[in-house]
């Protein structure tokens, strides 16, 4: 292999460069090939699996000398919801932030190991970090719509970055709002300020914003902890609908929530993955003692 190609960012040649909606994709259009190297370069790899599988392999994360995530290997299957639970400071947020490489934005923070998204290592130095975040979206604990933008501008904020056309932005914006269950509530106030909505609506706006760029994975870092129970329930329902489109990883300190929404649950303690398994099993008959102590409320 000509090693000069190793310095190029990986690019994709897509035989169908028009925007894809999930319905089109479901109709089975062939996906693009990935080549490392200059456009049309020497090598190409075909994706082998269903899209949206995430696998962590021996992931370590540090804040300076603080070893916050210790050798976690964990898979998040496509089309499913996985919850991460554990006491404060166990590293669950940090681990999740490594998936979309937000962890390294913090000065002095670094990560080692592999984060595989469908056979591509997101930490491969050839991969552009901006591209990673298009494929792995994130919703934060506190709703954070952009205060200087209207509702519709908020939703299309990510799309605007890739130079999408006005019409395309409007279409995908609406689609995202529908997907987030917010369309009916805001369709008459698309031009109103993003911050003019209630807390729960703002969070769904943030979900719509993340959905609009068509990611394969959605990370949610305690998305309901700042919301009232009614809003929380709405979002949990949404998660159930969304998992067909995006692989969902949700960090939560609320075990009942994990029990309600997640197919699989992982329990972390002190930076390590203690146990992972089907949610029912983890809560009713865990393998590890520490898991049992946590889920029965003995600590945490």
């Amino acid at each position: 292999m000509d090693s000069s190609h190793l310095n190029e960012t990986a690019t994709v040649t897509d035989p169908n460069p028009e925007s894809r909606t999930s319905s089109e994709a479901a109709a089975g259009r062939p996906g693009p090939t990935i080549s490392f190297g200059a456009e049309g370069g020497a090598k190409s790899l075909k994706p082998a699996r269903e899209d949206g599988n995430v696998k962590l392999e021996e992931l370590h994360a540090y804040y300076g000398s603080n070893h916050a995530v210790r050798g976690v290997s964990l898979g998040f299957p496509a089309g499913k919801v996985t919850a991460i639970i554990g006491p404060s400071g166990c590293g669950k947020s940090t681990m999740v932030r490594c998936i979309n490489r937000m962890h390294e934005e913090i000065p002095g923070a670094r990560a080692e190991g592999k984060v595989m998204l469908d056979e591509i290592d997101l930490y491969d130095p050839r991969i552009d970090i901006v591209a990673v975040r298009r494929s792995v979206g994130m919703v934060f604990q506190k709703p954070n719509p952009f205060p200087t933008m209207s509702v519709i501008d908020n939703v299309t904020a990510g799309l605007r970055l890739t130079g999408a056309s006005r019409g395309e932005m409007d279409d995908r914006g609406r689609e995202a709002l529908v997907g987030a269950g917010l369309w009916d509530e805001v369709k008459d106030r698309l031009k109103g300020p993003g911050t003019g909505l209630s807390g729960g609506q703002q969070q769904r706006l943030c979900i719509a914003r993340a959905l609009a760029v068509n990611p394969e994975v959605m990370l949610m870092d305690e998305p309901c902890s700042a919301l009232d129970p009614v809003a929380t329930l709405k979002i949990e329902e949404l998660i159930g609908e969304l998992k067909q489109r995006v692989t969902i990883v949700i960090v939560t300190h609320n075990m009942q929530q994990a029990a309600r929404v997640a197919d699989t649950t992982a329990f972390m303690l002190g930076g390590e993955l203690v146990e992972v398994g089907a949610t029912d099993k983890l809560f009713t008959n865990p393998d590890d003692d520490r898991t049992e102590q946590y889920v029965t409320g003995k600590f945490g």
Binding site: T11, V12, A26, G52, A131, V132
Partner: protein
Amino acid sequence: MSPGESHALMLDRGNLKRRNRVNRLVTVSSTIAALFAVAVLLIVVGSVLSKGIGALSIHFLTTPTGLFGDTSGGISNAIVGTVIIVAIAAAMAIPVGLLVAIYTTEFAPTRIGHVVRFALDLLNGVPTIITGIFVYGLIVIPQKHQSGFAASVALAIIMLPIVARTAQEVLTLVPATLKEAAHALGIARWRTTVRVTLPTAAGGLMTGALLAVARVAGETAPLILLCSIFAPGVLTEPSEGLASIPIFIFQSSESPSPEAHTQAWAAALVLIAFVLVLNIVARAFYARSRKRMGA
């Protein structure tokens, strides 16, 4: 996620490269901008240093200015004059500024506090030449002559908002719990202020005072109107005109003679060194006071 959905991982419609290019361009431009500012600073200070160091000598520092363009003299009278003018100004501005700050942080009802703060802000924005005109009308005209004291009054007015505003900021940083503890012990308000609040804030207050002094030591505009005519020799009487370093630099810079220019650079070097040292000491006080207050 359904199979066949685009492996959007690197899909960018070709504009990711452009976006990265733009990002790089902006990064480079703003770095250049910052370097440019630093470069200008270094060039100016460098000029002063390189052109002034030659004329800087003990003779220069200890001899008064020569008469009528005689460049064989020095700046001893200017140094003495500046010290006296600034010292009197500071003696006026610092206590008053401090009192204003005490009033707005301890006693003033909110609305009055806003009014005073607003007035201080406006005062801060008054061009210094205008302050010069004010004091000219206030003091020079009735007395029919310029004086170091008039210059001090103008400088004090310029210093006042600086001292008051930084004192305000520092006083509000003093933890309320300290004051509450004192009040709970039955200590009178004025005592609390004098024996608890002020000492705790002392470092920051010192900083504000030093920065205000550094600011007015180089202030020339009011001096031109109020204290630019003076007798030769080293004078110390503030009711008469006094020499000053900024006026020396100004007058020498306007002179056509290269020797005068060299003297101007040397005096500038002295002034910059003075201002720089004050700034550094002020920062040191500030760092210490922040540690004291556990900030």
